[in-house]
């Protein structure tokens, strides 16, 4: 998109944040332009072109804007700036650094630099003079919060280059030239630690993208044990309001085994972002001992921020993820809520008077969601290393009804489904993931199956399958009891019901607000699942169903106490010993 002069235009129409611009030259779809407003420039993106009428969505309020205002197009798409120093920053949807903005209230047209230009970085070269390099090749690295931040040949550079010069190890700012490479014609190109990339285009500087196969531990039992997600996998969490989507995502972002966590707060509450700002600097990453905030990037486009930037925010987040994946890192990306992004698309499509699809969403909603989810994945880089982006989005279905366009489109794109159930949430059975409706397609992948057996142990998959069967049979038994009454069913039904209650209470339910229970590493998950399945195998004898339920309530209480106790602590062992005694009494 190279042009000598910037194309300009004038505002010819305004409907909320949709502005029509009459232009005097070429413009490209999705090109960025600035509208000149008396005190500030308003950023906008081209979304439709008819003749010399260009429709742009403005990323700011258009209050006070008048016909005739000047517009200048920038010759590039919406881009992010990539370089060291992105970790632990708080950006808005357009990658403006929120901490650099002055004043308490956001000011229209306040665009701040995403990077720190003065900070010195400890550079170590990786490439050598004479090396052949191409887009994404690692030239060197600087440490960033404990992770190696690889400085790469810019993704925009096509073809093969030869390293002509590379600076020695030492301390440099991001804008220092760290390498000079020459192209096939012998032209020299100087490279710094900074590059730019358009957010709506996937970064493909890798060799290949196999099917993902490695378990990504989240520390959440009902996910890891029953329906695991994998490194480079995709999942979504639909649920009515208040059922625990955000709490679950925050829990995952605290304990998942990822190098980098990117949280896109997309059209949700500002107070939830404040919670992360407040808590993450205090909490430790259980794997590295560093503060959680050090591995985290927050993209905040809260619900009161401009709607058009909401759409940009998820793309900004994904692009930052792709950048870190190209460094060979494990990235976990969370977006809360993708429904707000879809609604932003809907608002704009309605203003453009496009033919609406179901529920007035744009016709191509499914395609948009699919191609976004497709950017996640596990990749082998050109140098043989690997990296991944695991993506989990929440969906906020209107009226809690899963038969609506965003949920249905996402179901086609994501491989794991963690459906939150209103009844479970109402009875405080958190996380409210429905154990029967939810699924992980990855469990069907042979490569995932063999990985799980190797990592967790022989027979693991059978145990998982058995657990699911017991839950299902418990639900059926409960339905019968409800119809026929406690006395109207055989004892066996009560037994089935209580076996599933046992699994529910000890494995499925997990208290995200308890310091110990909040995170359950895999060995502990295995131990507890085996313990519980063991109990379901035992043949106890009971006089009455009340006798039975009383007994199960007591052992559930003990197992829960074990969940609350430090792993393998005296307390843990004591509860376990008491539990064994209680059971022995019943078996004799």
């Amino acid at each position: 998109m190279e042009r000598k002069n910037k194309t300009t235009g004038t505002v010819a129409g305004i409907i909320a944040n949709l502005v029509i611009v009459k232009v005097d030259g070429p413009v490209a779809q999705n090109e960025i332009g600035f509208i000149y407003h008396p005190e500030n420039k308003l950023m906008a993106e081209v979304i439709k072109i008819t003749g010399d009428n260009v429709f742009v969505q403005v990323f700011e309020s258009t209050r006070g804007l008048k016909i005739g205002a000047k517009v200048e197009f920038e010759n590039h798409l919406l881009e992010v700036t990539l370089g060291p120093g992105i970790l632990s920053r708080n950006y808005d949807g357009l990658q403006n650094d929120l901490d650099k903005m002055e004043g308490v209230f956001l000011k229209r047209g306040d665009y701040t630099d995403p990077l720190d230009r003065e900070k010195k970085w400890d550079w170590t070269p990786i490439a050598k003079k004479g090396d052949k390099v191409s887009a994404g090749s690692w030239l060197g690295e600087v440490p960033e919060n404990g992770n190696p931040h690889r400085i790469m040949v810019p993704f925009k550079m096509e073809g093969v280059y030869t390293v002509k010069n590379i600076v020695e190890a030492g301390s440099y700012i991001v804008d220092d030239v760290i390498a000079t490479v020459s192209d096939a014609e012998g032209n020299d190109i100087q490279l710094t630690m900074v590059q730019k990339w358009p957010v709506k285009v996937a970064i493909k500087a890798y060799d290949n993208k196999p099917r993902p196969f490695k378990l990504l531990e989240t520390g959440i039992r009902t996910m890891d044990t029953l329906n695991p997600i994998v490194e480079g996998g995709t999942g979504f969490i639909p649920g009515p309001f208040g059922t625990g989507k955000t709490v679950l995502q925050h829990a995952i972002s605290k304990y998942a085994e990822a190098d980098i966590v990117i949280i896109a707060a997309c059209g949700e509450r500002a107070n939830e972002v404040v919670e992360i700002f407040t808590e993450f600097p205090e909490l430790e990453d259980p794997r590295t001992g560093r503060k959680l905030i050090e591995r985290t990037i927050i993209i905040a486009n809260t619900s009161n921020m401009p709607v058009a930037a909401r759409e940009a925010s998820v793309y900004t987040a994904m692009t930052l993820g792709e950048y870190y994946r190209s460094m060979g890192l494990k990235v976990l990306l969370m977006a809360d809520s993708t429904s707000r992004w879809a609604q932003a698309l809907r608002e704009m499509s309605n203003r453009l008077e496009e033919l609406p699809g179901p529920d007035a969403f744009p016709m191509d909603l499914t395609a948009i969601i699919s191609s976004f989810y497709a950017r996640a994945g596990f990749v082998y880089l050109n140098n043989g290393e690997s990296g991944s982006i695991t993506f989990i989005g929440t969906v906020s279905p209107a009226g809690g009804n899963l038969k609506e366009p965003v949920t249905e489109s996402t179901r086609k794109a994501a491989r794991c489904f963690y459906g939150l159930n209103q009844d479970r949430a109402d009875s405080k059975r958190y996380p409210a993931i429905d154990p029967i409706d939810s699924y992980s397609k990855y469990l069907e992948y042979p490569e995932v199956q063999s990985y799980l057996l190797e990592r967790i142990g022989e027979g693991w998959l059978d145990k998982v399958a058995k657990t699911k069967t017991l839950l299902l049979r418990g639900r059926e038994a409960m339905e019968q009891i409800n119809i026929l009454g406690d006395d109207g069913v055989p004892m066996e039904f009560h037994e089935r019901f209580w076996n599933s209650e046992l699994i529910d209470a000890v494995i499925l339910q997990q208290d995200s607000f308890d310091d110990v229970d909040a995170n359950c590493p895999m060995p502990r998950q295995k131990y507890m699942l085996e313990k519980v399945l063991d109990i379901t195998d035992k043949k106890f004898t009971f006089e009455t169903f009340e006798d039975l339920s009383g007994f199960f309530k007591r052992i559930i209480n003990h197992l829960k106490q074990m969940n609350y106790a430090e792993w393998d602590s005296d307390k843990f062992r004591n509860y376990e010993a008491e539990l064994e005694d209680m059971m022995k009494e019943r078996l004799n």
Binding site: R63, L106, G267, S303, D359, D426
Partner: protein
């Protein structure tokens, strides 16, 4: 309202609908206010020199040659301490017969607070109502609606909450308020001697419905002045947000927008969020807390208005008539305060979280027992006791006519546990049982 010399007067309206007019005009800003035949309008669309205005009072009787004057400004409010104790309409004009307010002119519907400049909400708001303080504690900087059918006494409950909340300022945004309710608010505030702490922006059922659209922004602009500039604790009451949303749909339908669910505009979520997100805790101690009312249709919370509201606010307080005891209660099942974790057990007594959960669990057991009873099954002794507990719990704690402190709420709950259950049945951490089961 103001018109100045040398302002251009247009007299040729080309199109008229029930809520909008179109005319040719130049040098007009988006969102700008105008006077049309003496009524207030606002620019909602500009196409070349065609300008479309939304007329808040409706277009009845506006002739095509009516005078149109653009005011060169968005909706504004004059803010100063003089606002206190006063009643205004949706345009910020006094309706109490008092003088115009002198003060700084601010645009309403201004920008939002930078998230990194917010503090975490942290201070408990005591209301004296156990259905709130015990089970769904409120925190300064929170936004939360009452969900209630139109026949529930939500305005009375809200007025009580407001008066007990120890707020420095209470700002009432009344939308489609019946004249009786308007006078009711005026009276209670007056009788409580609180009038000088109250600012009211009121649109009654006698005013044109579209004017309501301006009320929340007016109320919140005043709130931001007191909370940010004066560092005060401000409580904003918005009643009834369902009528606000109805007004949104009137306008969007007349502008030929494609409606989404329940004939609401596709932007309903953003429109409501823009208002509710004004709730904030500032690091300097000032705060805006929003308590709203969303009336329901037959308890249906899947309707687009309560549904979108639930996705935006930090919980909801569900009012319901408990026919077993003949009192209005705050329903413990469907109500939720998402910020209660921040204060319970720390700013209230240590046993608060456990006692709260145990009581709700037992109340749920009672509901199951009642279902059993309705289906004609025998009740166990435990079932009978939970039903008795539920009745006492509803009268002594859930009913909205209460005014006690949280210590009393907790003590009462312990007493009910003791009266009806054994220690094992209650399941509360041992150390608390030892301390409070007396």
């Amino acid at each position: 309202m103001e018109t100045q010399a040398f302002q251009k007067i247009y007299t040729k309206i080309s199109n008229l609908t029930k809520a909008t007019i179109m005319l040719k005009a130049t040098d007009v800003g988006y969102d700008e206010m105008a006077l049309v035949h003496g009524r207030i309008g606002q620019v909602v669309k500009i196409m070349g020199d065609n300008v479309v205005l939304q007329i808040f009072g409706g277009t009845e009787g506006i002739p095509t040659n009516a005078e149109v004057v653009f005011l060169g400004r968005p909706p504004q409010l004059k803010v100063s301490d003089q606002l206190a104790g006063r009643f205004f309409n949706a345009f910020g004009d006094p309706i109490d017969g008092g003088p115009e307010v002198e003060g700084k002119i601010v645009d309403t519907g201004g920008p939002s607070v930078n998230p990194v400049r917010r503090a975490q909400p942290s201070q408990l708001i005591a209301t004296g109502i156990a259905g709130i303080d015990l089970n769904n504690s409120l925190v300064t900087g929170q936004k939360i609606p009452f969900f209630a059918d139109p026949d529930q006494p939500y305005n009375q409950v809200m007025a009580n909450v407001a008066l007990r909340a120890e707020a420095d300022k209470i700002i009432l945004g009344g939308m489609g308020l019946s004249n009786d309710d308007y006078l009711y608010f005026k009276n209670v505030f007056d009788n409580a001697g609180a009038l000088d702490r109250i600012v009211s922006f009121v649109n009654t059922t006698e005013d044109p419905p579209v004017e309501r659209l301006l009320i929340p922004d007016m109320a919140l602009t005043a709130a931001e002045y007191f909370a940010h500039e004066k560092q005060e604790k401000v409580l904003v009451l918005l009643t009834d947000m369902t009528l606000f949303a109805d007004a949104l749909s009137i306008v969007s339908n007349r502008m030929d927008q494609i409606p989404s669910k329940d004939s609401m505009p596709g932007s309903l979520y953003s429109d409501l969020a823009r208002i509710y997100e004004k709730a904030v805790q500032f690091p300097h101690g000032g705060s805006i807390t929003i308590i709203a009312v969303t009336t329901l249709n037959g308890g249906d919370i899947t309707h687009a208005i309560p549904d979108n509201t639930g996705y935006i606010t930090e919980g909801q307080l569900f009012l319901r008539m408990d026919s077993d005891v003949g009192k209005v209660i705050v329903d413990p099942f469907r109500s939720l305060s998402r910020l209660k974790q921040l204060v319970i057990g720390t700013q209230t007594r240590e046993d608060h979280p456990q006692v709260m959960n145990a009581a709700i669990r037992l109340y749920a057991d009672a509901a199951n027992a009642k279902t059993k009873q309705d289906n004609g099954f025998d009740l166990t002794d435990y079932d009978e006791r939970t039903i008795k507990f539920a009745k006492e719990y509803a009268v002594q704690l859930l009913a909205v006519d209460l005014n006690i402190d949280t210590v009393e709420m907790l003590d009462r709950t312990w007493q009910l546990f003791k009266d009806n259950f054994s220690r094992e049945e209650v399941v509360v951490r041992q150390e608390f049982v030892d301390k409070y089961w007396k």
